[in-house]
């Protein structure tokens, strides 16, 4: 079995075993087995990084075998510089999330852990898939465990949130399915994504395909104006669900832009690039302002995620190496930082059972170790140099300024809004005197919570101080993609 297949199916296998044999009476064993499965699934992804050959844009660790012969659908996997880091990132976040749900989830523990393990495997499948149908199957399949996570372990309005999430993202994806089928017919019966990259297509067809893919990926990212599902879902989802949703699932959409929209319809991508840039800037500025007035911490971080993902899509459609690389780096950095932010909110919610900023104040006095972690992650969210949050934003802003000064200026304003809402939230929650009784009685983080926050802190600082391993990997693939996008595919 190839490494990529192992990375996909190992967590799924562990999840299925937990589903089949786990019981709430053996919750302890279930948790440990889930943790073992998550760690093993993460370790399996590490040889991908060490064995990855730099300087080439070709797909690596390729696996290909026939799946549905009748329709020429293959089980075709591979990673390049664009998708490589998403695989270990997904597996890493899965480990953190299993640790995060350790004591909090007491009902249907085996199903909860199984949902996350299976979800992790499916998401890795999305990033590795090189066959259109395989990509689609994994892309849609991720909706199911997340829907269950929100719908079963979520908050008071979980049913509305779960339905909204499922239907909203599914609707966009249906247009993508039509596009995939059209490409299958036009290419003479192939679902191979790399073949589609070379397929000549007329301008009008490219436009239709671009918007079909846009419908799916824009909802997933989420771009303005189809972003409103994210705050509702984050608020209702359990902490681990929010972390995985923000850290990985949003990146499925951004990845889709790079793997489908831009290389398959390059002429349409260039023609409509300004629209995407405008929507991204609106996401960055409009949503940044909206984030500032939120009273619910999770909603604030959710809107902050929309703004950060606006940076990602902005970087992609700059069509220069700094912008695209910056967007990919921002995807990885946001994966660490947003997961950390949601876990911090989860730590507070586990104790006080409130996400309202007004319920807190002066938390640093009673939980100093936790506040230190929260400060680091808040700074990373605001884009402080030395943390992961800075690297991607800086590269995207540089790329934007190279593209057009005024777009770069507007993008840079995001840094101000990001700092404003993050620091203001931090000040109101953590700093100042303790005025609430619930805050007076708070106990600092225990060893488990310390471990999960420390893991993310190390990742955030490492990426911020030494981002070279992340950027080196993607150089060749990004340049190849841009060369491809710059060339016309009109017949």
């Amino acid at each position: 079995m190839g490494l990529l297949s192992l990375a996909i199916w190992m967590p799924i296998a562990f999840g299925v075993v937990l589903l089949a044999f786990g019981r709430d009476s053996q919750a302890g064993a279930v948790r440990w087995l889930a943790l073992v499965g998550a760690i093993a699934s993460f370790l399996v992804t590490l040889p991908l990084i060490s064995g990855f050959e730099l300087g080439t844009s070709a797909m690596q660790f390729v696996e290909k075998m026939m799946w549905f012969e009748r329709f020429n659908v293959h089980y075709h996997l591979g990673v390049d510089g664009i998708s490589l880091w998403m695989v270990p990132l997904t597996a890493f976040i899965n480990v953190v999330v299993v640790i995060a749900g350790w004591e909090v989830i007491t009902r249907k523990v085996n199903q909860y852990m199984a949902a996350f393990l299976i979800l992790s495997g499916l998401m890795i499948g999305v990033f590795c898939a090189l066959d259109g149908i395989l990509f689609y199957v994994f892309f849609e399949a991720t909706l199911i465990p997340m829907y269950l996570i929100i719908g079963i372990w979520g908050g008071p309005n979980k049913i509305y949130a779960a339905f909204k999430f499922f239907l909203y993202t599914l609707l966009g994806s249906l247009l993508m399915l039509i596009a995939l089928i059209y490409l299958y017919v036009t290419s003479g019966g192939s679902f191979d994504i790399l073949t589609w990259h070379k397929l000549p297509l007329s301008g009008s067809v490219q436009t239709l395909l671009f918007f079909a893919f846009f419908a799916a990926f824009a909802v997933k990212v989420p771009m303005w104006p189809v972003h409103t599902w994210l705050p509702d879902v984050h608020v209702e989802a359990p902490t681990g669900g929010s972390a995985v949703l923000a850290a990985i699932m949003l990146k499925l959409g951004a990845y889709g832009f790079l793997r489908f929209s831009m290389p398959i319809a390059p002429d349409a991508a260039r023609e409509w690039g300004l629209l995407i840039i405008v929507l991204s800037l609106v996401a960055v500025i409009y949503v940044g302002l909206v984030a500032m007035v939120q009273q619910d911490m999770k909603k604030l971080v959710a809107y902050s995620s929309v703004a950060h993902m606006g940076f990602v899509t902005l970087g992609f459609f700059m069509f220069n190496p700094l912008g695209v690389s910056g967007g990919i780096v921002q995807m990885i950095a946001h994966g660490f930082v947003s997961a950390a932010m949601f876990l911090c909110i989860g730590v507070l919610y586990d104790r006080v059972h409130s996400r309202e900023i007004a319920s807190y104040g002066g938390v640093v006095n009673t939980m100093p170790r936790f506040a230190a972690f929260a400060l680091l992650f808040a700074m990373a969210n605001a884009g402080l140099p030395g943390t992961a949050g800075f690297v991607g934003e800086w590269m995207v802003i540089l790329g934007a300024v190279k593209f057009n000064f005024w777009i770069g200026l507007l993008a840079a304003s995001a840094l101000i809004f990001g700092a404003a809402y993050t620091l203001w939230m931090f000040k109101r929650v953590y700093l100042g005197p303790v005025t609430k009784d619930e805050v007076k009685e708070l106990a600092d983080i225990n060893a488990r919570e310390f471990l999960m926050l420390a893991m993310l802190a190390v990742a955030v600082l490492y990426m911020g101080i030494y981002p070279k391993p992340f950027t080196d990997v993607m150089d060749a693939s990004v340049l190849d993609l841009l060369k491809h996008v710059a060339a016309s595919k009109l017949p």
Binding site: K164, T228, Y286, V290, M292, V293, Q294, F417, A420
Partner: protein, 185 residues
């Protein structure tokens, strides 16, 4: 408490200034490090021609307006705040608007808090409540499922539940299609 450090800082400042002014500004200190194009930027060269040593510069400075104005300021401050405080009180009454402007730091803090910060928060509230909640969520998202529900509540009245009604409609439909394909197409 601050006086002693100030004195301790002032003395070396004078000494260092005295020792370094000629070599640094007009001498060879920066000889191979800083290059000035005297043709385009003659200021330093002209100043150098008028410089006759640090003592001469200090003595000459004491005969010029800035020194006398600074001294006048010290004397005025001593008089106004130590001898006769009625004088600054009078000016504060007469020039009240100017005093307020300076005390409010040109209203920069007020502008920052009431226009920039409140404005941003107000704009954020408007964009959230009107843009996101009312228009996008209220009209488009929730509106779409409400429309589906509304249409369904009307359309369901067409379901009679009787098999023979459905069979009749199917036969009529086949008749229409056949009419179209046989006669008209």
């Amino acid at each position: 408490m601050v006086t002693v450090p100030l004195v301790l800082l002032a003395i070396p400042s004078v000494v260092i200034g005295f020792m370094t002014i000629e070599p640094m500004l007009y001498g060879e200190f920066f000889k191979n490090v800083i290059f000035i194009d005297a043709a385009k930027h003659p200021a330093m060269q002209q100043l150098g021609e008028l410089f006759h040593g640090p003592v001469a510069m200090a003595l000459h400075g004491m005969t010029m307006a800035p020194f006398w104005l600074a001294l006048a300021g010290v004397v005025a401050a001593w008089y106004m705040y130590l001898v006769n405080p009625q004088v600054p009180a009078f000016f504060a009454r007469v020039l009240r608007p100017l005093v307020v402007l300076l005390e409010q730091k040109y209203y920069m803090d007020w502008i920052n808090e009431n226009i920039l910060a409140k404005g941003a928060r107000g704009l954020g509230q408007g964009l959230w409540k009107v843009g996101d909640r009312a228009i996008i969520d209220g009209f488009f998202v929730n509106g779409s499922w409400k429309v589906v529900g509304l249409v369904s509540s009307v359309v369901r009245w067409f379901q009679s539940g009787f098999l023979y009604h459905y069979a009749l409609v199917m036969i009529l439909g086949v008749f229409v299609l056949m009419t179209y394909f046989v006669w008209l197409a």
